[in-house]
Symmetry: C2
Subunit: 495 residues, 2 copies
């Protein structure tokens, strides 16, 4: 026995060593490739290069499949570099705002002592127990300054609307859909979620409560449904109202107002919808902070008051629904964020508080109080976007009819106190050249990565192009679009 027990591991050891040797030799090529890949990416994709070149990994393809599917390959994570850099304008990265915040200087610096906000909890007594009260106050203040949404009553920090903070608007949208569907009748589940095309295809995860049902205008169901109303709309910037009437009480709207700010569109009305979504990234450009927030209507009487002031007494049916829904929606959204990420980073909320405070100060504090006057965010962003739209429209006009853009619209802005043209955060670019059925593929020939229209339930001849990337990236975009007027064999190969 002793002899065998000594032999067995010995033989096993030799077998193991041989198998290991074969195994390692077999994987050597794989290892070398991985190693070289890593080094190549490290050389070519350091942050400054990647950012300066606007090289960004696009998210995995959006599609109507509500189940999460992995990306088909990693190649879109691999950065290209100038010259002839790949301009990745598929996402809405708002790096256009960086020069503004560099200009603001130390006033916008966030300082967090090591012992601050260590607990899971911001205010244990509140419905949204992970919401920093200072952040909520900063948000209410900014909405009072801009007048784009009714999010409080008398400004005492409590009141008319419940606040829920989330890790960006994406998580909050899912939380809202969950909140509106989890208690639906079983025969109504999964509750269809619709939005008028072209729509921003949302990242709905697999759920027994709800399902993505596509274009609201093609929706014929008579049971419960949820409509995402995005205004100004992503991707085309159109100002929208719900496509489906909810007077029957079976439709529950979620208003995505992340672009309803003065740099993008005219502030024509103080929005007062049941559920409204906003995100810091589209207000101030701080996408990396991953902060979004939602408001849900709290009190029936105020809701009815708003409805009446809009001369919409038919919405009294909504009031009864609101009476039922009320705190419950906020409570369920809080529950969703709790279960998926146990709340939201306090550090991000502290930084958002500081950033939003700087924005409000520049418009609220007497100009004389500070010399030089603090830069004003919405003015900066509107100037920047207006100039970019002029340049892009000129390039498109010069592109010998290869492209067209969404119509320019304008309206009287209660914030700017003047009529202003809309400056959407995305260009909805259409390829009109004969023979081009897939605009995204055509632009890929120009090393321009844009999201194809079919991903928005729209026309593949259209693409969504980010207007908020850095100057260098946008200038290259305009030059490449304009260059089409000159016959270039390289580009014509794509025809």
């Amino acid at each position: 026995m002793a002899g065998r027990s000594r032999e067995t591991p010995l033989v096993g050891g030799w077998l193991g060593m041989c198998a290991l040797l074969a195994c390692n030799v077999a994987s050597l090529a794989y290892f070398i490739r991985s190693f070289l890949d890593d080094r190549r990416r490290r050389r070519t994709a350091t942050r400054p290069v990647a950012n300066a070149a606007g090289v960004h990994p696009p998210p995995a393809d959006d599609d109507d499949d509500v189940a999460i599917q992995p990306p088909s390959s990693e190649q879109h994570y691999i950065a290209a570099v100038a010259p002839g850099a790949v301009l990745n304008l598929e996402l809405g990265d708002p790096t256009m705002y960086e020069p503004f915040w560099r200009g603001v200087g130390p006033r916008a610096t966030t300082v967090i002592p090591g012992s601050d906000t260590m607990s899971y909890f911001s205010d244990a007594g509140e419905l949204c127990w992970f919401l920093e009260p200072e952040f909520e106050r900063a948000v209410r203040r900014l909405h009072r300054v801009v007048g784009n949404a009714a999010v409080d009553d008398d400004g005492d920090g409590g009141g008319a609307y419940h606040f829920v903070v989330g890790n960006g608007a994406t998580q909050l949208f899912q939380a809202a859909v969950y909140a509106l569907s989890c208690d639906a009748d079983e025969e109504s589940k999964p509750v269809p979620v619709v939005s008028a095309a072209p729509y921003y295809s949302t990242n709905l995860q697999l759920s027994g409560h709800f399902r993505w049902a596509g274009d609201a205008n093609a929706f014929t169901g008579d049971r419960e449904y949820i409509e995402l109303v995005c205004s100004p709309n992503n991707p085309d910037g159109a100002v929208r109202e719900a496509a489906l009437s909810s007077s029957s009480g079976t439709g529950k709207p979620i208003h995505d107002l992340v672009y309803y700010w003065p740099q993008y569109t005219a502030i024509t009305v103080r929005a007062a919808h049941d559920i409204m979504l906003f995100t810091l990234s589209k207000i101030t450009g701080h996408a990396g902070t991953r902060i979004g927030y939602a408001t849900s209507i709290a009190w029936l009487w105020l809701h009815c008051f708003i409805a009446l002031s809009d001369n919409q007494w038919l919405r009294l049916s909504d009031c009864r629904w609101a009476l039922v829904r009320d705190r419950d929606v906020a409570r369920k959204m809080v529950y969703f964020v709790d279960r998926s990420t146990i709340g939201v980073s306090k550090d991000s909320q502290l930084r958002a508080t500081k950033i939003l405070g700087v924005v409000s100060d520049a418009y609220e504090l007497p100009r004389a109080a500070a010399a030089p006057p603090p830069p004003r965010l919405f003015d900066f962003a509107r100037r920047c976007l207006a100039e970019r739209w002029r340049a892009l429209r000129a390039a498109v006009a010069a592109s010998s009819g290869a492209f067209s853009l969404q119509e320019e619209t304008s309206g009287y802005c209660n914030f700017a106190k003047q009529t202003v043209a809309a400056c959407p955060a995305f260009a909805w670019l259409r390829c009109d050249k004969d023979g081009i059925e897939d605009c995204a593929a055509f632009l890929a020939g120009l090393n321009i990565v844009a999201r194809g229209g079919e991903q928005f339930g729209g026309d593949a001849r259209c693409v969504r192009v980010n207007m908020m990337d850095r100057d260098q990236v946008f200038d290259l975009l305009v030059r490449r679009i304009a260059s089409l007027k000159i016959e270039q064999p390289d580009y014509l190969d794509a025809f």
Copy 2:
């Protein structure tokens, strides 16, 4: 026509006004109650009072239902106050660490200029494009200092393991389960996820890819499965290995090592598992920062090397599996985090980088270099927990047999260079008094909120009690436990 069109809105207006009036009167009581509720919570639940009293909202009940369900009521969000404060020890809020970080002072302060990290992207060229490279370096450095996990090769920041950052370990666990299940054979879906009881019941959301299947020791399936191995275990602190053998290649383990740090247990081996989860909240106490990270093994040759060094050549079968899985797991986890929250707060990663750097400095920098020497986190936390365990065991011993605790274990710690007793982050408290079947309900009679054992797939006579709350809360806990030795009619009423 004109006349009628003038009359209709007039009549409609009166009807609307009457309906509105009735509606508002009907909701007046409701409005007043909401208003008074808000005010009451604002008065009684300001953060200092709530925290000083250890009053925290527990999460909604965990159960084996993998679909998200809303909490049954809001009352657990409402704070009580001293005297006789409700001690909410249901969560693992690590506020015990606050005095340490106050002692560290300005060295631990994070400063973030307004224009920093605004992009969605940290390093566009990397697989985990939202991972701050500085954060990854700080984590690899700390693991080298402590020696609790093999997370790099030669320390060049690339190499042996892929890193994925998430919004806390909860999101990463779901990302890992998704990554291991999304490509399973259709007949294997939903892939069962198991863990040996008592287990930390995880927040698995509804999915077609996987399902929670409870106790690993009761699992009899022969198809693919995923086993969560939590060591030291939550709730009972036991050091664990996989309960099910994965030699057949059908089992895929996820190692939750969030408590595998020197203050909680002896560091006996440098863990080198395929997927390992960690979270900042259990290392340094910064739960509010919501930062967790996962490592996934990268290269076959290294994996085999580790296996061999552990004298486990039978795991060569795992190697082949690793060869297939490899980068793919990290890529799918990144994809999951992308789709659910579009990455992770950069501000949180910057703060985590600073905090972890302070911890490593205190152990790596020459002591003479700084006067006074910087405080050492693991020493502080171990002293604090050891003292608390002594006090709690004394109180339990004095409780006239009403309670008992998990056995004290010890082992030689490679980090402390001595044999140390385990100081789990949770007490697994058992009510031994005859007639008590529900320990959580019994403790509720002492105004102590703890999570009942049945929520961990265990005995309802046991509860999990947080050992990491603030001193004032823990002292009250010990006094109330010890007070049972004195016959008090109030408490006996609970029998």
